[in-house]
């Protein structure tokens, strides 16, 4: 028992968590006592202890789990534990519940955790739609309802879409570039474990006095400043998720830049790698801004600062600028990896090279650059200086150009292909349809007079769900089905997959299509009840949304049963050229027995004799007398023929 508590793992992490609370109590007591009774009548304050615990407990949890072990030993000057890779990889389910440095294990940890939060966030949406099925009060009071949509959005953005893309890429990307793992495996493990902490923190806000955080995932000030303690569960939880995101992005950047197999130049990289490269740039530059916005809020709330106190010289709009400076790039963080997945799926399923590969890569970079210039299109009606609307509207319109290039290139990739219309491909084609609609409503919203009418209405709710569900989630499903054989070594049930697609596609459009009209007609968003003229459409939407929720269960059933007992998958069931398909399903523990050499592009379907990567036999020493098996640079050379 004592051994369990002394060794790194979940038991010791639990101890760390409790220590964090004690630490918070001690720290707040000391600070309040030293300030004096005049300022603080009670030195022990539940609210102060809770707020500091929200920061301290996750950190001590991670220390207990062993996430910082290597660095703490090194910093203390003690001998670090030699990395013999014995704890690398997964041999039983228990390996998924500890610090594990294998990117394949981490990828599955991320993906499964993220899907848990998809189901929770989706359930919250079902509760919201039950409330909105009819005008008036149904199930929940207004404060609870406000909590439902706030937690719904926060979980799905920070605990589902962003991490699931990180998880899929974590699994696939090193394999795709011929690397044995990511550049920083320990950092990778740490970045995963921040996520369950962030998600549970946000979810547990429902138990806080005063209820869950209830000011939207956007947490506008000054409403969020005076909110009950549940607000801190968001402001701190989002920092944990943001830290996770930044660590992963850093890892991806270094891995992609330094660990590509010999011969894989940037323009021989698969587009999934390009997409994650672009996304990682967005993450490292933008994410600190949401951290900053929440630090401002925490300082105002906990320490009485006046950043957003208009009466004391504060600037309410400043919050929105800082928040949206991250949150606009965030939507591209939530879409670009999906673009990469679609490129992979369409090329393989159409048996054709991606049309316009170079422009596809450049348009990703263009979206990154332009994505930082449009944030105030979320603030056209905010009361900010009127002139800002002009350049922001122009840049918003311009960013549709690289996005359009991608859509047209995917369409051209279909042309004269041999289309395999299985589940991943169906989701890719569905994505093209619904994302185009979301993009069209986005272009409409760039037009300021129109946005002035529909801002913060159900038209916006429609737009965001067309691009996040019809966009991101469709690509996530496509990617999960596509790489399921590689990750699990099993094939999913194709018939259930098709059922999942069609029910999702139909119910999705029935749920979110009519919301455009509700917005135009004057229904605000984030309301627990509405004027009776909106009743018919809301009832239709609610019923359709229940269908959409049920359709997700088909997916869950398929994945669980196939993972447990589906037919064994071969190494390359899709006959793809990219490197991850050239190893077994699932891959060997260190991915490649020998580093491959890349000799051509990743999508050379239809080109007779084209090869992407080759697995050479043992290399010949470059100079006589050097160590057999290595060359001076350590590079693997293909046999010259």
């Amino acid at each position: 028992m004592v051994a369990r508590l002394r060794a790194p793992g979940l038991y010791r992490a639990g101890l760390g968590f409790l220590f964090g609370i004690a630490f918070a109590a001690g720290l707040t007591w000391v600070v309040r006592a030293s300030t004096g009774h005049a300022t603080f009548h009670h030195y022990l304050s539940g609210e102060a202890i809770t707020t500091v615990s929200l920061i301290a407990s996750p950190i001590f949890f991670l220390v207990g789990l062993g996430g910082f072990d290597y660095w703490l030993y090194w910093a203390a000057g003690r001998p670090t534990r030699a990395e013999d890779h014995s704890s690398h990889g997964a041999h039983s389910w228990k390996d998924y519940f500890r610090i594990n440095t294998d990117h394949k294990v981490i990828g599955i940890q991320y993906t499964v955790t993220a899907f848990f939060f998809l189901l929770v966030g989706g359930l919250l949406a079902m509760l919201m739609r039950a409330q909105l099925a009819q005008p008036g009060a149904q199930f929940v009071d207004a404060n609870t309802y406000n909590g439902l949509f706030s937690v719904h959005a926060s979980l799905l953005i920070f605990l589902f879409v962003i991490p699931v893309f990180a998880g899929l890429a974590n699994y696939v990307l090193p394999l795709m570039i011929g690397a044995p793992d990511m550049a920083f495996p320990r950092l990778n493990a740490l970045s995963y474990w921040l996520l369950p902490l962030a998600g549970l923190m946000m979810l547990s806000s429902f138990l806080a006095p005063g209820g869950a955080f209830a000011d939207g995932w956007t947490a506008y000030t000054p409403l969020s400043i005076d909110a009950p303690i549940g607000q801190d569960f968001f402001s701190i939880g989002v920092q944990l998720a943001g830290a996770s995101s930044i660590m992963t992005a850093l890892n991806f950047l270094v891995t992609i830049i330094t660990m590509r197999a010999p011969g894989m130049s940037f323009f021989r990289m698969p587009l999934l790698v390009w997409a994650n490269f672009a996304t990682s740039l967005l993450v490292v530059i933008a994410t600190p801004f949401i951290a900053a916005s929440q630090f401002f809020v925490l300082l105002d709330r906990a320490l009485g600062f006046n950043f957003f106190n208009a009466g004391a010289g504060g600037d309410v709009l400043m919050y929105q600028h800082v928040f949206w400076f991250y949150s606009h790039p965030a939507v591209y963080i939530m879409m670009l990896p999906g673009f990469g997945i679609i490129s992979e799926v369409i090329a393989v399923k159409a048996r054709k090279p991606i049309f316009g590969y170079r422009m596809m890569a450049f348009s990703l970079l263009a979206i990154v650059a332009l994505g930082f210039t449009v944030w105030a299109h979320h603030m056209f009606t905010s009361g900010m200086a009127a002139w800002i609307r002009i350049p922001m509207a122009i840049t918003t319109a311009i960013i549709a150009v690289p996005t359009g290039i991608k859509i047209f290139s995917w369409l051209a990739t279909l042309w004269r292909g041999i289309l395999h219309l299985d589940t991943p491909m169906l989701f890719a084609l569905g994505f093209l349809t619904t994302f185009t609609l979301g993009g069209i409503s986005g272009v409409m919203l760039a037009m300021v007079p129109f946005d002035i009418h529909v801002s913060a209405s159900y038209f916006i709710v429609a737009h965001i769900h067309y691009v996040l569900f019809g966009g991101s989630l469709m690509t996530i499903f496509a990617g999960v089905y596509y790489w399921f054989p590689k990750m699990t070594g099993r094939m999913f049930d194709e018939r259930l997959g098709k059922w999942h697609f069609w029910t999702t596609f139909v119910f999705f459009n029935l749920t979110f299509g009519p919301m455009h009209i509700l917005g135009l007609e004057g229904m605000p968003r984030r309301v627990a009840t509405y004027a009776s003229k909106f009743a018919d459409l809301n009832l239709l939407i609610s019923i359709a949304s229940f269908g959409l929720g049920l359709s997700t269960l088909i997916f869950v059933y398929n994945i669980v049963t196939s993972w447990r007992g589906g037919p064994r998958a071969v190494a390359n069931p899709w006959r793809a050229l990219t490197l991850e398909w050239q190893v077994s399903s699932p891959p060997p523990i260190f991915n490649f027995d020998r580093v491959p050499t890349v000799v051509g592009g990743p999508y050379e379907y239809g080109v007779p004799g084209a090869v992407h990567g080759i697995f050479a036999p043992a290399p010949v020493p470059a100079t006589v007398g050097s160590t057999p098996g290595t060359t001076p640079t350590g590079a693997v050379h293909a046999p010259t023929e």
Binding site: A214, G383, G404, L419
Partner: protein, 248 residues
């Protein structure tokens, strides 16, 4: 390789779908009644956007459906690859330049509408001060409107055909003052006064809704705006001023 006939058939189907879409866009009542001059301009802008969007959506769906129908893998083609087409520079230039031109055209038109909606018209303009608080809207008519003491009221009356400059403030958190029938809204922000102007041009009473989450009472923070004839407006202001001395 698909035949010319099949491509032509798809093209015709796309044109018909576009025509049907455009016709439908006229038939559908997208908006509440138009009660301001600004509403007319905004509705026209919206309609232009819809008409511009239909061909794009139809194009995407047509290519998908045509490809699914024509290029679907047939039995015996399981191991076959498609044509190794890497790109087409002319096509790529076309689908970069054309959307860019359309987008810049649309955004320019939108700026014309914005300017038209926001410029101060010649003629009379009254100021109405709006105050948002959790969870109600109150209105103040300044001396320039009442001709005497300022008037504070919970009712919103405006004269038909005359420009109204709403000066909007908040007492506590951010709200948004939205009049859907006017197609106009702006946030009420503590610490600053925000403005928009409207020229009502239709008699009647229309909903006013708070359109930015402001707390537990957000869903029911509603009001009504009454557009009345100018003489009626004068009468209303006078009657309110005499029988309800303002304490603002």
């Amino acid at each position: 390789m698909p035949t010319r006939r099949s491509i032509a058939a798809a093209g015709v189907a796309a044109l018909i779908a576009t025509a049907i879409g455009i016709a439908l866009s006229y038939a559908i009542h997208w908006f509440p009644v138009q009660a301001s001059a600004q509403a007319k301009n905004t509705d026209t802008l919206y309609h232009v956007l819809v008409i511009a969007s239909i061909p794009i959506f139809v194009l995407v769906v047509t290519v998908i459906l045509f490809s699914v129908w024509h290029f679907r893998m047939k039995p015996g083609e399981e191991l076959k690859d498609g044509a190794p087409i890497h790109g087409n520079t002319r096509l790529e230039i076309l689908w970069t330049a054309l959307p860019a031109a359309v987008l810049l055209g649309l955004v320019s038109y939108s700026f014309v509408v914005l300017h038209e909606n926001e410029r101060k018209p010649a003629g009379k303009e009254i100021v109405v001060e709006v105050t948002g608080q959790q969870f109600a809207w109150t209105y103040q008519y300044p001396s320039s409107v009442t001709g005497g003491a300022p008037l504070a009221t919970t009712q919103l009356y405006v004269p038909n055909g005359e420009s109204v400059d709403f000066a909007i403030r908040s007492k506590d958190v951010v709200h948004a003052f939205w009049i859907p029938a006017f197609r106009l809204q702006i946030d009420a922000v503590p610490g600053i006064t925000t403005h928009y102007r409207a020229t009502p041009d239709r008699l009647g009473s229309y909903p006013v809704v708070c359109n930015l989450l402001c707390g537990v009472g957000h869903s029911t923070m509603r009001s009504t705006i009454h557009v009345v004839a100018p003489t009626q407006f004068e009468a209303w202001v006078k009657s309110r001023g005499s029988s309800h001395p303002s304490t603002s």
